[in-house]
Symmetry: C2
Subunit: 117 residues, 2 copies
DNA sequence: CTCGTGGTCAACCCATCGGTTGAACAAAGT
DNA sequence: ACTTTGTTCAACCGATGGGTTGACCACGAG
């Protein structure tokens, strides 16, 4: 699975990984610190970090024997760009459909915003 | 994997699925139409649509024996909200770090931005 | 009623994923 | 030099994911 977008999306498809990102947004942390709250082994968390790193979401520097993990914000843009593009397109299409319905000879009463949100 | 956010992210972690979304942003389509461009079976595409549907990205209506697929834009917000939150936080943190560095009395030569990006 | 057509369900295959344990490596501290 | 602390590597395990084939169901056309 080479492509960057897939890597980012699937990296964030895991709750633990998202939580790690959330915590890294507050402050850098080491693997052990990150692993503490979860009841999985440190190795498991290390693997998670590897995934995040491969996705470009995170970087590890070296500082003594510690390896502080740092959140890399830029990659987010990749996603937001993709998402926004198709969201806009879909909404645009929705708006146009709306216009069409509105401009329709009132043959078929348009279901009056059936949307019980 | 119950939580909605995970479902959306992992739904979009697949290139084929993203492509389907991209095409549905232009116009609704049936399963067969959607399957045409790819060299996989219709069943495979049907499965993809199921995943997208479970993620709330897509809805299938019934129209004669056809089942047109429609892109649902709202779910995107879930993602963008999540992403934007942590991106802002990370950028904020970066900005603050910058300030700190700038306001530092040049006592201890701060490891001069050891960050060979 | 029967026959295409559009779509799904079911069972299976193999690769990947999240997790484990156990060993190894790297850099202090003693 | 030996030990401790932090981290990763390797091998394995069960579950899930994307794909297949083959049967099945729903519908409209003849």
């Amino acid at each position: 699975m080479a492509d960057p977008l897939s890597r980012v999306f699937s990296a964030l498809a895991d709750p633990t990984r998202r939580d790690i990102v959330a915590r890294l947004a507050v402050a850098d942390a080491t693997v052990n610190e990150l692993a503490a709250p979860y009841d999985v082994t440190v190795q498991a968390v290390s693997k998670h970090l590897r995934v995040l790193e491969d996705a470009g979401l995170v970087s590890r520097s070296r500082e003594a024997q510690r390896r502080p993990v740092h959140l890399e914000a830029e990659v987010f843009d990749l996603m937001t760009k993709w998402i926004e593009r198709y969201r806009r397109q879909a909404e645009e299409r929705y708006r146009r459909l709306d216009d069409v319905l509105r401009s329709m000879p009132d043959a078929d009463p348009p279901p009056p915003e059936e949307n019980p949100r």
